[in-house]
């Protein structure tokens, strides 16, 4: 019995009433490029977001593309991005907001109530999950937010499906009058594939706020009936999704596997003949269809990443059919899956034979190559100076390239965006006798660090906050923020003054230094250490990558081999341009000319590279 059906979606007209053009082009695209293009095809009018791997490329593409004019902004945080996009969808526009999974925690406040108010224009919440936490602090599963908020959620298995789902998500959102959560994972966002894409949408809308206090003013008397209406809408949501056929059940034998999202493709690659397959791409799942599929099978194995969302549903509808998955340990609870991982699960459960030999194992003791702060990165000398001045302090830190300061022993905490100032004041209020020296990047400070600083000052904490101001959002690919002096669309704006913000928060000791000037940085930090209350040191120097792109060139430095005493000071500094060549320190062509190593060398052996000295470090 093959229960597959084709999609049945009513023919839609573009918002501007333009005729539908079914023209397609095949392109080789990154998942996020395909998603961005889908928003263009869907005639999106508005897009906002806050950068975060693996979601950042969508806005980065929309802000430079010329296929369709639309309003694009990098907002200061996910909540702000969400509220901007939600309001435009209330006003009837097609709106997209982008974030990574943990960004949803920041945007959760408006998210929950946006389900009550609903939307007029299509509102798609692109929230990228990161199983295995490739680039994240946790592995949370956005499907749980969808269930929590009673919102539909689409979960693509392939780049092509991601593209098609985003277009449909706008339609679906308008059909249901609800925001739609679109939840790809890292391996969809950052994989590439041949993709069929369509023409850019040409329609556009002018927004107008539809004043309606009973809908948009959520006082208790309005919230209660809206909550009831949202609950009453749910059966229709399920029905509409079931008609979309994102969830497909194919009966082929007496044993069944059910999977969702990208793991579906891993299952398909190793799925033997005669095993039934249930494929989940949209939530909420139609329980009746699920029950009908599970029934009559000898057993069911559920394979999914993240939380056991599908598995719990299957268990509820299994009616005695044995179910296996994360909850009984057949599938790992954490991390991400792969074809190889799914194959060993299937082998362990007897779906396929066990492999003949042992699995291939990596060669042991290959030196690790972790990511590292760039040669000339401003964070390294700042951390170096902190260590010199404070030594055994407590160092709360935050999220950005500077989290790599962990390798230098000056990052004691990293939990979420903007947490360093408040964790710092908390540790101080706990009675820890050591100095507290917190670090936070410029973008992270503007994202959600300001309230923590204000709170620390007002409530009388003793601590120093070092703002690592590199004028950009570095880790995620140099997205502009209000310190950069440029908007997402490239309009020049006056950069915000971090000094003025800190002073407005009530800090009286606010000093700005260049971390390339090590003696001055140390001097200022010593002064901060001597002061009472909350002190702020702004270590300011453009990110070395953006500086290079902007044409900044500094002469490289070199080591005088005769003067080098092999003391190891520069090696311990950890700059990737400094290495050992023939038992002496040497500076490779990676040097960007920050000159900090010359300031720390105790024997004065490092100086600007002379033309006549052909000494080259670098590659053997």
């Amino acid at each position: 019995m093959n229960e597959e059906r084709a999609y049945h979606i009513p023919r839609q007209e573009s918002p501007g009433g333009n005729p539908v053009v079914p023209s397609m082009t095949k392109r080789y695209l990154l998942g996020n490029e395909a998603i961005a293009h889908a928003a263009i095809e869907a005639s999106a009018d508005f897009a906002s977001g806050y950068p975060g791997t693996p979601s950042s490329e969508v806005i980065d593409i929309l802000r430079v593309q010329e296929e369709r004019p639309l309003y694009v902004e990098w907002s200061v945080n996910e909540k702000v991005a969400f509220e901007n996009a939600l309001a435009t969808a209330w006003c009837g526009l097609r709106s997209l907001v982008t974030m990574k999974h943990v960004g949803m925690n920041v945007a959760a406040d408006p998210l929950m109530t946006s389900a009550y108010t609903g939307v007029n224009g299509g509102f798609v919440i692109f929230c990228a999950d990161d199983p295995f936490a490739h680039s994240s602090q946790n592995e949370q599963d956005t499907r749980c937010y969808a269930r929590f908020a009673h919102l539909p959620c689409l979960d693509p298995a392939t780049v092509q499906e991601a593209h098609d789902m985003v277009i449909d998500a706008f339609v679906l959102s308008e059909e249901l009058g609800l925001p739609v959560i679109f939840r790809p994972t890292t391996r969809v966002c950052h994989s590439r594939s041949d993709v069929d894409i369509g023409e850019p949408g040409t329609g556009s809308r002018k927004g107008e706020f539809p004043r309606d206090p009973r809908r948009f003013v959520l006082i208790p008397g309005h919230a209660r009936p809206l909550h009831k209406a949202l609950n009453e809408k749910q059966p229709r949501v399920t029905r509409v999704l079931a008609d979309r056929n994102y969830n497909r059940f194919t009966r082929r034998g007496e044993r069944a596997i059910i999977s969702g999202g990208i793991p579906v493709t891993y299952v398909e690659e190793v799925l033997p003949e005669g095993v039934s397959l249930g494929r989940i791409g949209a939530y909420p799942v139609d329980r009746e269809a699920l029950r009908a599929f599970v029934g009559g099978h000898r057993d069911v194995l559920v394979i999914e990443e993240g939380e056991p969302v599908i598995e719990e549903l299957v268990r509820q509808e299994a009616a005695g059919v044995p179910v296996s998955g994360k909850l009984d340990g057949a599938v790992p609870r954490e991390g991400e899956l792969s074809t190889a991982a799914v194959a060993s699960i299937l082998a362990a459960k007897g779906f396929i034979p066990k492999p003949a030999g042992p699995p291939p194992v990596p060669v042991q003791n290959v030196p690790m190559r972790p990511p590292i702060m760039c040669a000339g990165c401003m964070h390294r000398p700042t951390f170096y100076a902190m260590k010199k001045v404070w030594r055994e302090a407590v160092y709360p830190s935050d999220i950005g390239c500077y989290t790599l300061g962990l390798q230098l022993g000056v990052v004691d905490t990293t939990i979420c965006m903007g947490s360093a100032p408040s964790l710092g004041s908390g540790i101080n209020h706990a009675g820890d006798q050591r100095d507290v020296v917190a670090t936070i990047g410029d973008s992270t400070f503007l994202h959600s660090g300001i309230p923590g600083l204000l709170n620390a000052v007002y409530n009388g904490a003793e601590m120093t906050l070092v703002i690592l101001d590199n004028r950009t959002t570095g880790m995620t690919g140099h997205q502009p923020n209000p310190c950069s002096g440029m908007t997402a669309r490239g309009e020049v704006k006056a950069p915000v003054s971090l000094d003025a913000i800190c002073r407005a928060c009530g800090v009286s000791f606010v000093e700005t230094v260049s971390p390339y000037d090590l003696p001055s940085t140390i001097e200022v930090m010593k002064a901060a250490k001597a002061q009472k209350g909350v002190k702020v040191v702004i270590a300011k120097q453009p990110c070395v990558i953006t500086a290079r792109r902007a044409g900044v060139r500094r002469g490289a430095y070199a080591v005088d081999r005769d003067a080098c005493t092999i003391c190891g000071t520069c090696i311990r500094f950890g700059c990737p341009a400094i290495e050992m060549v023939d038992e002496r320190a040497s500076i490779s062509e990676l040097c960007s000319g920050c000159g900090v190593c010359a300031q720390i060398c105790p024997s004065g052996a490092i100086g600007p590279k002379m033309k006549e000295k052909p000494e080259k470090g670098g590659k053997p």
Binding site: Y28, D164, S338, E579
Partner: protein, 235 residues
Amino acid sequence: MTGSRVPQGATAPKEPELSRGGGAPLDRAGSLQGGWGPSGAGSFDLLIAGVGGQGVILASNVIGEACLIEGRPVKAAETHGMAQRGGSVECHVRIDGRYGPLIPPGQAGLLMAFELIEALRYRHYLKPGGKLVANRLVMVPTSVYTQKLEVPTEEKVLGQLADLGPCVLDADKKAVEAGSPLTQNMVMVGAASLFLPLQVESLEEAIRRSVPKKTIDMNLRAFQLGREAAGGCRD
């Protein structure tokens, strides 16, 4: 515009799921050595390994674009974000790939390594008899110096790869010869082209489409030099 093309669009007709009458036949999947072999995935799997900043992703894009030119499906996965800051970078490319983008260990037909320590790190992805094309370059990770580990030498690392009968070339040198050290990734693509199931013309056209206009000639030259340098490797 929007919804109307979704129905015909993609998922259902493109799914290999059932049109193929099921995935790997049991006997074949079971006979694989360790990994999950040419299990019916039907793809030629290529792993590209290197260090952040070496142009690994562009090399991968050229190969993907060449698949598009030949009208073949392709799936690829790449490293983004934090790992790019000088870290180890891996790109999976599955030519004729219809399933997920990740290559199972023990299944790659070709490993393209832009650096020798990275070749060592990823060699277990190669299937028995798979080919290694490697750049003669050792970039010592900074952690080796800061943690005072034994510094890996070119000779030692090559020794650990010798059993693969690797095709080793000096991509940096060839790139300089082509006009810029930045073209070392196209030198590597040229060398790998001898072992890829793709036409040379498709790869050249893919380079034209993928690199900045002003650098097309230089990159094509790099491709050609790489191809020549690896010429002796083909048995």
